[in-house]
Subunit: 341 residues, 2 copies
């Protein structure tokens, strides 16, 4: 059997109906008699009909496409986020056209043009390269996740609350001094909340603390060296004190844990560690690491739901322009494991 090229016309001839009636069978079957529905249903089987959504899109403008631009899938956080976004197909029926960012603004603009050329109805942006102001000018519904979002709708983890939870847990774990080790992120990125939350709680309860903000390297190997330095610094500066370490993410927490563990053959009571993200490494570490769990499934769902809302509005006769942007925050969940006991 050759290529399937059965169209409404073929079905119409086969059944002695018109193309219009065939179209109705798909879009408004109740307007046909039950008998005629059956005739057409049988014809579809006989002819082995395969629908052509592209033609449908051209005719009615609804592509049911959502475009995604994501930084990479090497980090578990992004991979799982994409996973959960894709899974919303079961709920909303939208298909996803995915591009991975190359951290190149020009390339990314090209991706967006390509997406628009395929008549996507909305976009979910996780990459960081293009400023939200420019994104907002695309004139199509957009939702960003965990990135600078001043001019666009977004769904983010409540990083501030996560830091508050993590810091509080350390404070209650009999620590003399709390340290937050992070890179020097900009105030406009959502993850800056981790720094702010840590600082605020420490000040509010007058806990001795130190912020260690510095570049932690661009490869695993580099990062290990950077954290090794930090470890040496801490060890020298706070001997004998019970140290609570709030690491910026689980990968960093694991590196710190490994350095300590290899030095002492165990995790001494003098050290408490908590990470962020609840990535697999936190559970799989030499000792299960306490962490702040981002609700990735929920974030993904809310992002798509918010986008679908906007897209539905666009389909109306007179879509009312959005007044102001929506920023949803999802509260993370504290996960207590063995590194804070």
């Amino acid at each position: 059997m050759g290529k399937n090229k059965v169209t409404f016309d073929d079905i119409a001839k086969y059944t002695n109906f018109s193309k219009t009636t065939i179209s109705r069978y798909f879009n408004n079957p109740d307007s046909l008699t039950v008998k005629n529905q059956e005739i057409i249903a049988q014809a579809l089987i006989d002819l082995d009909y395969q629908e052509n959504k592209l033609a449908k899109v051209l005719a009615n403008g609804k592509s049911e496409f959502i475009g995604i631009i994501i930084p990479n899938l090497f980090l578990h956080y992004y991979a799982e986020m994409l996973n959960q976004i894709l899974k919303t197909y079961e709920t909303f029926g939208y298909k996803f056209l995915v591009f991975v960012s190359t951290d190149n603004e020009e390339a990314e603009r090209k991706y967006i043009q390509e997406l628009l050329a395929y008549k996507i109805e909305g976009m979910i942006i996780l990459s960081h390269t293009i400023p939200s102001k420019e994104l907002a000018e695309s004139n199509i519904p957009i939702v960003t996740i965990e990135r600078e979002d001043k001019y666009v709708n977004s769904v983010n983890t409540d990083n501030y609350m996560g830091a508050v939870q993590a810091t509080s847990l350390l404070a209650k774990s009999n620590c003399d001094i709390l340290l937050h080790i992070n890179s020097d992120v900009h105030e406009t990125t959502p993850s800056y909340g981790r720094i702010a939350g840590f600082r605020d709680i420490c000040r509010e309860y007058s806990i001795e603390h130190e912020l260690i903000l510095r570049n932690l390297g661009n490869s695993y190997h580099e990062t290990v060296n950077c954290i090794q330095e930090v470890f040496g610094y801490i060890k020298k500066k706070y001997p004998g004190k019970n140290k609570g370490l709030f690491m910026s993410n689980d990968t960093h927490a694991n590196i710190m844990l490994n350095l300590i563990f290899r030095e002492y053959g165990m995790l001494p009571g003098e050290y408490r560690i908590i990470g962020f993200d609840d990535s697999p490494i936190a559970e799989e570490a030499i000792i299960p690491i306490s962490t702040v769990g981002q609700q990735i499934e929920k974030i993904a769902y809310e992002a798509v739901a918010l986008l679908v809302e906007q897209m539905n509005e666009q389909k109306k006769r007179r879509p009312k322009p959005q007044n102001g942007v929506i920023h949803k925050k999802i509260t993370p969940i504290l996960i207590r494991r063995e590194t804070t006991e």
Copy 2:
């Protein structure tokens, strides 16, 4: 400014050319005078034209879409594979429509129908649910990766060679007894090669060995318990002997390493461990784990390249039917780290 609805017709009127000439400007610009090219180029800017690829597809049949069905993105292996597949956009220009499998045959058939409805030109399948025989009946170019592939083209890691390398490394590491711990995979899946390679090498060189094939659990927690049991079994059965453990993947290798390390506060010389996959956990473990590195980037590239070849053949006047299926094997790379020293 409202929605962009500028078409070739608008540009034609604006420039006093015909639609055809505008079309030529895009598809065969050299057939226009340089001057006229400039006129049209300017018009595109003035009118803020945005191309519509869907209309183009309807007219010429080339969607430039590739469909992907992937099991999940929780496992690093799949996430990175998808990452690398998506990156081939820069080389081949194909766009990817991605579905994540739910391990439900019916759902997956629905995904395939949906993909076909969007006139994808080819498919890359990584999920395991639908037999290759059925896939082959789709009548469109297909390439599978690391799954049962009897009736379809595929690109796989040379699991057998990987096992040979891993086993040889253990053999040279002064081991008295070699053990391969794996689940009882079926002979038709590519990863069965890991078992076969281990067995063959041990027999060939008359090395004392044991295959431990059993269900290793469906969650991390379960797996830890299963491997704990295996560890107890080995410890009791081969006391004093130097044991070389070839684990089925890096996650399992890491679990085993952690169990041993926590028991002894170190990795005793009595134990050698090697994993498979070169996933991040192998590098991030308490001691960097030796492993067999799958060349994910290469596999992804070869898969897309092979698919593109098939798709190009399909576009010819008289596409010659493929005689026999192609199975490409990519040799993995041995990565020696500290658990085999």
